[in-house]
C-alpha cells in the first residue's frame, strides 16, 4: 500500500479518533468515577507521576455505581421513555409537514427549485438559539400567536402553549424540518415522470399513482429524513429547556441539569453513555438501510 492511500484513509480515522473516540473514553471514564468536591468535580484522577501503582490505584477506584443509581431512580428511565415518545411523535409530525413541502418543491417549475431550496436552508443562517427564543416570543401568553387569535376573535383568553409539550413539538418540527425535506426532495426529484404516466396509462388515477408509485419510490428519502430527525431529537435539550415546561421530561434536559445545576458530572456522564447506547441502535439501522439502498441502485 502506498503512502498516499494510507494518508487518505488515515485522515478520517484520525478525525474520528480525536473527535469521537477520545471524548467518548473521557466521558465513559467520568461515568465510572465518583462525585467529589474538587476541581474537576470527580475522583479518581489519573496521576501518572506515581507510576504503575498510580495506574492500578486509579483503575481499582472505578465502578458502576452511577449506572446502578440510574436504575434505582425512576426519573431517569421515565426521561428516556418520554424522550423516545417525543422523538417518535415529532418525527411523524415532521414527516407529515415535510413530505408535502418536498413534493411541492420537486413538482415546482425547474427554474424555481433552487430558490425554494434556498428558502428551506435559509433559517440555518441565523443562530439556532435566536430562532428558538423567537418562538418563545410567538407562543407566549402575550405573544404574536395569542394576540392574533384574540384580535381575530377566535378566543377571549390567551392559550397556554409556551412551556408545554405542544410548544416542544412545534419547536422540534420547525427546527428539524429541513432535515426531513431535503432527503425526501432528493428522492422525489429523481423520480422519472414517465413512471407516473405509465401508471396512469395502466389505469391508475392521479391519486392511486401517488400511492402506488410516488410514495414507494420516495421511501429511501422518507427513511433517511426520519432517521436524521429522530436521532438528534432523542438527545435534544435546548428546545425542551426553552419551550417546554417543568413536566416536559427529556433525557437531554435531565443530563444538562445533572451536569450544571447538580454539578454531578459522573451521573451526567452515565446518562450520556446510556443515551449514546440507545441512539446507536437507530444509527446502525439507518446505516444498514442506506447500504441496502446503495446495493439496490447498483
Amino acid at each position: 500500500m502506498n503512502y498516499r492511500r494510507l494518508f487518505l484513509i488515515g485522515i478520517p480515522y484520525v478525525w474520528l479518533l480525536a473527535l469521537f473516540l477520545v471524548p467518548f473514553i473521557i466521558v465513559l471514564k467520568i461515568s465510572l468515577s465518583d462525585i467529589a468536591l474538587s476541581i474537576p468535580p470527580y475522583t479518581p484522577t489519573l496521576d501518572l507521576a506515581e507510576g504503575w501503582a498510580g495506574i492500578k490505584d486509579f483503575f481499582s477506584k472505578l465502578d458502576f455505581d452511577n449506572f446502578l443509581f440510574l436504575k434505582s431512580d425512576p426519573l431517569y428511565w421515565k426521561a428516556y421513555v418520554s424522550s423516545l415518545q417525543i422523538a417518535i411523535l415529532s418525527t411523524t409530525m415532521t414527516l407529515l409537514v415535510g413530505y408535502p413541502i418536498a413534493y411541492g418543491m420537486a413538482r415546482a417549475p425547474e427554474e424555481w427549485r433552487a430558490t425554494l431550496m434556498m428558502l428551506v436552508i435559509l433559517p440555518f443562517w441565523t443562530s439556532f438559539l435566536i430562532r428558538v427564543y423567537s418562538w418563545m416570543g410567538i407562543l407566549g401568553k402575550e405573544g404574536f400567536f395569542n394576540s392574533a387569535l384574540i384580535w381575530l376573535g377566535f378566543i377571549d383568553e390567551p392559550l397556554t402553549i409556551l412551556n408545554t409539550n405542544t410548544a416542544v413539538y412545534i419547536g422540534i418540527v420547525y427546527t428539524y424540518l429541513p432535515f426531513m425535506i431535503l432527503p425526501i426532495y432528493a428522492a422525489l426529484e429523481k423520480l422519472d415522470i414517465s413512471l407516473l404516466e405509465a401508471a396512469e396509462d395502466l389505469g391508475c388515477t392521479r391519486t392511486s399513482a401517488f400511492w402506488l408509485v410516488t410514495l414507494p419510490l420516495s421511501r429511501p428519502g422518507i427513511v433517511a429524513g426520519c432517521f436524521l430527525v429522530f436521532i438528534p431529537v432523542i438527545g435534544e435539550f435546548v428546545i425542551p429547556s426553552l419551550l417546554g415546561g417543568s413536566n416536559t421530561l427529556m433525557i437531554g434536559k435531565v443530563l444538562f441539569e445533572e451536569f450544571s445545576s447538580n454539578r454531578d458530572w459522573p451521573v451526567a456522564s452515565a446518562v450520556a453513555v446510556l443515551l449514546l447506547l440507545i441512539v446507536v441502535v437507530p444509527i446502525v439501522l439507518f446505516q444498514r438501510s442506506q447500504e441496502r439502498q446503495a446495493e439496490a441502485q447498483k
Binding site: D192, S194, L195, E200, D201, S208, K298
Partner: protein, 380 residues
Amino acid sequence: MAQPSKTPVVFAPWEDETQKPIIQFKNVTKRFGNFTAIDNLSLDIFEREFFALLGPSGCGKTTIMRMLAGFETATEGTILLGGKDISPVPPNKRPVNMMFQSYALFPHLSVWDNIAFGLRRSSMPKDEIGARVDEMLRLTRMEKFAKRKPHQISGGQRQRVALARSLAKAPKLLLLDEPLGALDKKLRHDTQFELMDIQEKTGTTFVIVTHDQEEAMTVASRVAVMDHGKLIQVATPAAIYETPNSVYVADFIGEVNLIEGNAKKAGGDKYEVSWAEGQAALRGSCPREIADGTRVTYAIRPEKVAISADKPKDAANAIQGTVHDIAYLGNISTYHVMLPTGQVIKAQESNTRRLANRHFTWEDKVWLSFTDTAGVILTE
C-alpha cells in the same frame, strides 16, 4: 391456411369508403413553446391495422403516440378515437395502452408485478390475473425472470417486460414506441410474428414506431414516413418501396440509386431522363404528368439493376462502367460501379455461386441494365 371465401380478402380498409377509421387526426398541430413538433397533420388509422411510423430521430413519432395516450394535448386540431374527440378523456380512461420508448418499468416492483400492474387496476379476478401474467411471461420468454426487479435484468429483457406489460390488458389500441429495438435479430423476428399473431387473434389496432425499416415492411399494413412533424407518405409497405412519392421517402426506405436529370415525354406515362452528356437518356415511368425540361430524379433500387459483361440487347436502359468496389453480404453482393461521369451506381446480385466462382472482380468493365418499369421518376 383455409380461407372462408375462395379469393383471399385483401385487408385494405383505407381504400373502402364505407369503413370508419378508429383514429382520426384532423389538422393536428403540436407546439412546445414556439417549436412545432407536429405540423398540421391529418391521418386516418383503421381498426385492425398495424400502422408503422417511420422517420428520423426527433421527427415527432413519440409525440403522436403521447397525444394518443393522453399525455400531450394537441395545440390545434382534433384527435378522434372511435369517432369521439378524446381531448377531455384522461389517460387512465382511454382504451389505449402504450409501451414507452424508455420502458418506464416500475423499479420497486418485480417483473411479475410490473406486468400485473395494469390488470390489478381493472376488475379482473385474481386467479385470472395470474394466468394472464404467466401467459405474457411465456410470450416474451421471461418466465425465468418473473421474480427479478428491473435493475436485475438486461436491456433487452427490460424491453420485453415493457412489451408484456402493455400487451397484458389487451387494449383496443396498442401504441408501441420502438418495441423491439434492443432485441437480437432472431428474437426480434419471433416477437414480430407473435405480435402479428396477437393482432390476428384479438383484432387489436397497433401503432408502432420503429427505426428498422425491415420491421416496418414485415409487420405493417401501412407505413407512414415522417419528417419534421409532417407526413411525407402514407401507404402500404410495397407502395412505399416500389413507388415512393419523393426522393426523401425513396432514400429513407432501403437502398436506392438517385440520378438527376431533365425529363422529356416519351409517350404514355413514360419519360426519358437525360442525365449526362454522351449518355443515352434513361427511360422510366411516372404516374403524374411532368412538363418537358423539368428537373427530376431517377430512382432505381440496386436489386433491380442487372450486371453483365456484354451489353444486353433488349434492355431499355444500359450504362457502362467499371467495378469500383464489391460488398459481400453473404446471401447477396453489392457491386459499386463507377460510371464515366464519376457517379457510383449500386447493383445487387444474389450469390447463387460460391465466392471463388464470381463473375466480376475489381476494375472489370461491366454493363448495368434495367427495364423502363423498374425505376421511378421523382419530382420532389
